[in-house]
Subunit: 364 residues, 4 copies
Amino acid sequence: MSTTYGKNLKITIYGGSHDSEIGVIAEGLPRGFKVDIEKLRAFMERRAPGRNAYSTKRKEPDIPVFLSGMSDDTLTGETLKAVIYNTNQRSSDYSNTAFVPRPSHADFAARMKYGDKVDLRGGGHFSGRLTAPMCIVGGICLQYLESRGIYVGAHALCVGNEYDRYFDPVSVTREELECSARSDFPVLDPLSGEKMRAVIEEARLSCDSVGGIIECAAIGLPAGLGEHIFCGVENRISGIVFGIPAVKGIEFGRGFEAAHIKGSENNDGFYTDGERIFTKTNNAGGILGGMTTAMPLIFRAAMKPTPSIFKEQDSVDMVTMTNTKLSIKGRHDPCVVIRAVPVFEAATAIAICDMLFDESEAEK
Amino acid sequence: MSTTYGKNLKITIYGGSHDSEIGVIAEGLPRGFKVDIEKLRAFMERRAPGRNAYSTKRKEPDIPVFLSGMSDDTLTGETLKAVIYNTNQRSSDYSNTAFVPRPSHADFAARMKYGDKVDLRGGGHFSGRLTAPMCIVGGICLQYLESRGIYVGAHALCVGNEYDRYFDPVSVTREELECSARSDFPVLDPLSGEKMRAVIEEARLSCDSVGGIIECAAIGLPAGLGEHIFCGVENRISGIVFGIPAVKGIEFGRGFEAAHIKGSENNDGFYTDGERIFTKTNNAGGILGGMTTAMPLIFRAAMKPTPSIFKEQDSVDMVTMTNTKLSIKGRHDPCVVIRAVPVFEAATAIAICDMLFDESEAEK
Amino acid sequence: MSTTYGKNLKITIYGGSHDSEIGVIAEGLPRGFKVDIEKLRAFMERRAPGRNAYSTKRKEPDIPVFLSGMSDDTLTGETLKAVIYNTNQRSSDYSNTAFVPRPSHADFAARMKYGDKVDLRGGGHFSGRLTAPMCIVGGICLQYLESRGIYVGAHALCVGNEYDRYFDPVSVTREELECSARSDFPVLDPLSGEKMRAVIEEARLSCDSVGGIIECAAIGLPAGLGEHIFCGVENRISGIVFGIPAVKGIEFGRGFEAAHIKGSENNDGFYTDGERIFTKTNNAGGILGGMTTAMPLIFRAAMKPTPSIFKEQDSVDMVTMTNTKLSIKGRHDPCVVIRAVPVFEAATAIAICDMLFDESEAEK
Amino acid sequence: MSTTYGKNLKITIYGGSHDSEIGVIAEGLPRGFKVDIEKLRAFMERRAPGRNAYSTKRKEPDIPVFLSGMSDDTLTGETLKAVIYNTNQRSSDYSNTAFVPRPSHADFAARMKYGDKVDLRGGGHFSGRLTAPMCIVGGICLQYLESRGIYVGAHALCVGNEYDRYFDPVSVTREELECSARSDFPVLDPLSGEKMRAVIEEARLSCDSVGGIIECAAIGLPAGLGEHIFCGVENRISGIVFGIPAVKGIEFGRGFEAAHIKGSENNDGFYTDGERIFTKTNNAGGILGGMTTAMPLIFRAAMKPTPSIFKEQDSVDMVTMTNTKLSIKGRHDPCVVIRAVPVFEAATAIAICDMLFDESEAEK
């Protein structure tokens, strides 16, 4: 199973959690760019499971193997093919989910769509594990953007009801964007991080789960990226961000709050220092008319709590069509928000590269 | 200027507010379907400006002219080409916006992207007027979906801080979905509507503007529409919804609120009556794993307040690169939320048709 | 009715011979490029009907009107929209073709596909007239390529059995490529041209028609354009060339003849003068592995004789399902090869631009 | 490296001759269709090398391994992922080709495009071996088409100057279409086959190579497949057929010959038996206006002689930029036409399925 994103930088992700491999095919990556493989692995490691008490115990190394498009750590311009071999398949835990769908999981809809042939072990092709290949390409894009002075970063803005402080939409710094890469808990304020850990631990102990909001920003963008109507920045970022499992909402700049304030408050007046033009506020989140303004790009995405909880739940045996109870076993994060932070960075970097590459040589 | 949406039902919208025409080209509409043209015009009329005190005074008839793809009111299967001729161009009002961008409007980004050749009169290719061609195709899709027992409807959930009641995510009815089509103010609760009118009038009198939230739902959908990762229901709906100017956020089902609750509260347990499977709650908004569940599809979108306000604002003369003040003249809605309601219905109907048509004959 | 070509330079052509207009929408043209409008009109004129005894008597001015994307004769980078208004519709001549399909014309297949709603007057959406919008964009592309030192030209290689001389695949010059633009009969050898005129005149007098072969070449191309497998030069050129009505075959370089010779004869050995690498022969037609070699790009396309002949023909009344005879009236070229020559130049220029623009800024 | 074909049935092929695997990802295959795996393997076997004296000695099993999209030999509707593991890599033979390009091979253009990072061993991503994954999907499509009464077949029409007899364009039978599947030499007339074998053997003995023409036909097609201008049958078939290495030309129906005859001879008059409409001749090759007519679909493609010959050839050392001689070693077919026959059947079946699936459920 695969699926494709992008116009200039085109990625296709395939495989499922219990296939022998998962992978990504990417066309349009910048030829000749030298990738720092150690840095890429460190980036991948931030998403990998089994690192601490707050994530699933399953231990997969998540090491990308490049089958083509990469030579001497340099992108050849040929299509990139990278795989991650699944080394730790344990399908038996999932045996009773075959016909009893897990509430709020993809099982039910997949069974309705594909019938009884679809393999749903471990989430099948709907598993969060599919975000690992996205991180391979995204990690490369992040490095490439850095080489052009563009920095992308995300943090856990909240877990449950515990909030970190927000990125400043006008003055967010590169250092703040890198907060998540530097620590083992992706927040700006370590104290908020402690509180979030407690919320997650509490969810784990009560056999429950918890969601959260991730905030993502990019600085150093030129003005004018994105195109109007269906190819705007918001369309293209949401087009990839909703590809991350459990995302149920996205908002740019002031977002839903903008619905409640006046135009005179929401509008960002322009100023100039004689050289460049900027705004003193940034309710637009760096986007007007679907195009970047060169102010920081800001968005937030809501993730629902992990649907796989260990409490007994109502479900239906789809073979006998009778009501039943379901108890989920196996390995599950009580909160995927923390591990998802680098995935949002990856997704955003891919979307930005795709938009950067709109500009063909003809337009130079 | 044009731009394209869709995979099976492909639409391209082109033209600008002050071109001689705006239009849409659509491939993949259902051949042989008979369109109720009167009903389509009535639908278009809901979006048209100049109907009442709450919208801009500009009077455009917004009558779709079908140049191909339609014969005897029936879709021939050929590509549909429909235009709306602009009859009421008044460009002089916008003369001073040529080099002084309007805060929070597309002007600035468009000028940065396209340079001084771009024609930004009346919003140019970034005008909300471009949603009219979307309504032509969307209006046809709404009729087609109805013929298959699928109903789509939207309402103004809030304007500023005045809220209508929510659609019930489990039991929303066809009658409720049609509330907006039946009245001149698209709300479920007329009393809320009165309060919203007051909010808009107050904004108008204070030379200001106000935003709001639109809620949209669809019932009668089969389970299994949408595809995973980048072709999910959320990706595809947000891909078209962010094509509506002023939209700054979207959320599905419980949306951002899901970030704050436990899995045990957010999960929708399954039940069966022996024939079909449903959920007693619908926090998922009818979508799991990017696919429909056959429960009502629910989403909400936030619209920022109209950026064109009559209060004096800070801006920059982009030629002299000096700070200046801008006073906007011309015709502008103090609130676009009301007129946007049918546009959301149109956009949703197009996205649903595009997903319905994923299923090729081969899969029967 | 419309249809789309291209990856980076994307064109959509719509309209039919007897609609009020035909047009083209193009995204990805080089921003800031100044178009020589007089030169473009002269180019369009080469395709226009009614110029001489050898083409249809119908007189359409074929003047492109630019609705967007062009300002002060300069491409703004916004999507180009250009139309040609049909001023000379005479539908009555076609009345009896409504149910009696014309042999070897699109009528029959269109009726089978679209049923009785399809409007086939004058060829409808299958008319050769649809190549006029292709020439608008192609004419612009030709000028742009020239500005980069790339020259594209075509000539009538044969009409019936009368042959012009071939382009020399190694040393074809810019002057030879421009032979067709300079004269009113597009051949290298004027004597051959005289013989072709006689063949056409003879066909006309005998109420018959005649086909031919067009040869097209491009010089000044860099090596490495095109991509392997499905995005090769041949795939992309044939993808647009088969969009020209009446084309039944295409061959690159030595083409079908290569099937009959040995590898040792067909292979083009490499040589160098110390600075660049070239081949002494060019059986490859400038393409290896789907990519350009920087040697002249050469291809030939076969056009069948115009199907609209005035001789009585066998057909079927599709309503009564009985055999009948058909006599076609109206205005028809006895040979479309001559007028098609600039269309091949346009198509080739569009395909080359699309391939040039594969190279995103990232790859610089 | 990968590349994509198709609109409804979308295939992406990746890998190179000396990668550890080559493969295909296919979206849009008919869900629920049961594949006869033995028949598929037998089909693949027809393309596989090393079977007889007429093909390369390299022995690869070419066994497709299905990683997803197939369960109990049935297409699940999920994206198909199939790989062929390369088991017999011998890269040392190609060492001297790294900087001395092989005449008429992709080496030179690839090096010019991708620089010295590209891996060209064994043809790299330009190898004919990439047609094996195309045969996996094509083999499935052939079976699916058969289940709907559509039969596709090809034969070697000529090798060098030895010709088989042509398919009868009006009355070609299913039995004739299956001639290639039934024998070990894909011709209608065994005597012609004997002569072709002699031609190939003679080429092999003289360290040379030979090309040929393949003719392909399909019967049982409904009328009206394909769409006009850029989505016609010819565009779509040539779009995949030029993805087969060494193809230099394609013609439909009467093809290049049509250029030399009169309209009155080329036109196919219509007849009816009261139930269906047909033509007594089929110079159109079953295609009018880019759409099928329900008469047999016929096309021919020219393949150049294998560029890898053992005779000494002129080339250039691209490092020192000096003229040099090249002697190719390794394993090479003196003629790829024979093995290519099933590849044309596969390509045609994929293109036909893609067109069949144009018709969405909406049009029923």
